[in-house]
Symmetry: C2
DNA sequence: ATGAAAGCGCTAACAA
DNA sequence: TTGTTAGCGCTTTCAT
């Protein structure tokens, strides 16, 4: 019996409606209710009339299947774990990771799954877990799939993959671990940015980027070189300055040092918004005006629009990345379910999405005159 | 029987170890295994020897209890829903919400719960859900508790609360809905900031803030007035400029208009980092230097350290806010569980945490000379 | 086209 | 101190 107690000022957690109650109310069996709600496919057929009645009753009583029971029975938790990028290095977090997180949650919800947040920084053992680390925690939740956003350590990914759960890595995958990936075509993005600068007349361009040797960083730098080469521009070694990722102080120091060197660039390409921030700080100190005295382009487009002047930047299609991640995972999850034990699984998907250049006020033709003077 | 298939190159999702297997292997019953793993409290006592053996076997086989079965039986999902602040207004998201999100996930993990991400922006109906909206989705997950980060609409909160699930609202609660809250002592934070400015010698201070009438905004503005009054300063009406929240263009326009008015301030208090960003843009256009010609303080401390110059800012203890939110929720969840049906529940907790002022390079004494000249 | 019945893995009351 | 038993709510054959 269903008692709606609306009168008492406070609500005690009321017992939820079960399928049995819906069945009874609709004058059918629980099996029928289940079949209707799952739009069952098998050798089962529900008459439109029955279907309609069940649905009406379910809706009237706000019936929602118990996810635990469903999970137990179907061996599917409906959960996608999102392992966010580590953020301890920075006080202000990773806007990119945040966007991916949110977009993943939305994309998952659209297919009836939910995203559970795994923050690798959690310190200390988790009570009740046999293995104290955060991956024990992850595994203990039995997610149907796992998204790694730019994982730091390949071992973490490998461990999850070995447990047999579908995995997808985003943006900065460890290709040594054979999982699906969704990345972005940095090469094309960088080319666009450099073409934009060269098109404006710049030839002396400084590259500010990460010293981390991850492929994603390498490919930005390689693309930088390739793009210049295509324009017949050869840069001195001093045109590339590599420093630590994601620390403001590091980026400022890097820019400061690089800008002190000769010859002076007329433009800067920052291989990440944080490097653009660092460049801006250093340029301010030097009283060099952007874009009057020097142009600035960045890769990421997260802080870029906020800075002054608003920075021309290469944007990653984060919403699409998240959506495709969920797609890939869902496909894999459904596939895994149907499989017996044969090892005839297809090779992991590797999706590459295009970037987009947002042109703002930080770029203009180099001025004809000589060296810098604010 | 437990078959570890390590040889096959690819792993098929292997059947998980169950408590029955552990029981058999340890030569005890499943009930004993359960009692050991849950450190059962009732009238059950496990001999240290048995305990040790069970634990050893469990660990050897990497046994992790099936969360769905546990949830089904105990009527506890182990999930905390985190409803993030809506973000559609801005391309760059809400760093504050992100931090709260991550810290909540960490705090939850420490007590064995997981956080599921609810992004209110999800559009379109969710397949299989009776009610198509995102709160139907939320409820369908049967979370043990819900965290609302600065909820937009009180109705959403009320709906969840009415379902009997413990709720806590963060930072910008709707006090009309009787839930627990964890907020920040904006009053004290603003006082500190204003004291800092006045201590430097400023008396003409411009307030740039949200036109939204939420209490959190009101209290910042009220505190601004109170702080000035305490210093015997009376400001003209034109010293307060209110505009739209969280849009860059709006903030810039607001600052632009306000700065055009007479008399000119020697300092600006931005009631949110986005307003500081707007102020900086407007000041740049006017070629007014910070802090030489005008000082700038903000509230939030999210973008503040990145801007140039780094902005003195009031920081909120987001990690603590998240931790307390989890604490409050957990207490409430345990309480609810023990309760029969009596309505003798305690009034909801209202925690208020202190802010911290980070002094950076955007503030200095006003210069003795007259009006602005970059 | 629908119903009956079994069982997913776990926990809690009751026995022993 | 430990084992037995009975479900939690759902899905899924198999019968009808």
């Amino acid at each position: 019996m269903i008692v709606k107690q609306v009168d008492g000022r406070t609500m005690t957690k009321r017992r939820a409606v079960t399928s049995a109650e819906i069945a009874q109310e609709a004058g059918v069996s629980r099996a029928t209710v289940s079949a209707v709600l799952n739009e069952a496919t098998g050798n089962i057929r529900i008459s439109p009339e029955t279907r309609r009645r069940v649905l009406a009753v379910a809706s009237k009583f706000h019936y929602v299947p118990n996810p635990a029971a469903r999970a137990l029975r179907s061996n599917r938790s409906g959960a996608i774990a999102f392992v966010s990028r580590t953020m301890h290095q920075t006080a202000f977090g990773h806007p990119v990771s945040y966007q991916l997180n949110l977009h993943s949650a939305q994309a998952a919800a659209r297919v009836g799954a939910h995203v559970i947040e795994i923050s690798p920084e959690t310190t200390g053992a988790v009570p009740g877990e046999v293995s104290g680390d955060i991956f024990g925690f992850l595994l203990s939740r039995r997610p149907d799939g796992v998204i790694f956003d730019a994982p730091t350590r390949p071992d973490d990914v490998a461990k999850v993959l070995e447990s047999g759960i579908p995995v997808v890595q985003l943006l900065r995958p460890h290709l040594g671990v054979p999982t699906a990936t969704v990345t972005v075509d940095a090469t094309r993005g960088v080319h666009e940015a450099i073409d934009h600068l060269v098109g404006l007349g710049h030839r002396a361009i400084l590259y500010l980027g990460s010293a981390d040797t991850h492929r994603a960083n390498r490919s930005r730098l390689d693309a930088f070189h390739a793009a210049l080469q295509r324009h017949g521009i050869v840069l001195p070694e001093s045109a590339v300055a590599l420093g630590p990722d994601y620390t403001l102080e590091g980026s400022i120091a890097l820019a400061r040092a690089a800008l002190r060197r000769e010859p002076s660039p007329t433009a800067i390409f920052a291989g990440g918004d944080i490097f653009a921030v660092g460049a801006l700080h250093a340029l301010h100190e030097l009283r060099v005006r952007v874009p009057d005295a020097i142009s600035l382009v960045s890769y990421d487009d997260v802080y870029a629009p906020l800075l002054y002047p608003p920075i021309t930047s290469v944007a990653q299609p984060l919403r699409d990345v998240a959506q495709r991640a969920i797609d890939v995972l869902m496909r894999q999850i459904e596939h895994t379910a149907g499989e017996t034990d044969g090892d005839a699984d297809a090779p992991p998907a590797h999706l590459v999405l295009p970037t987009q250049l947002h042109i703002r006020s930080s770029t203009q033709p180099p001025r004809p005159s000589g060296p810098w003077t604010g």
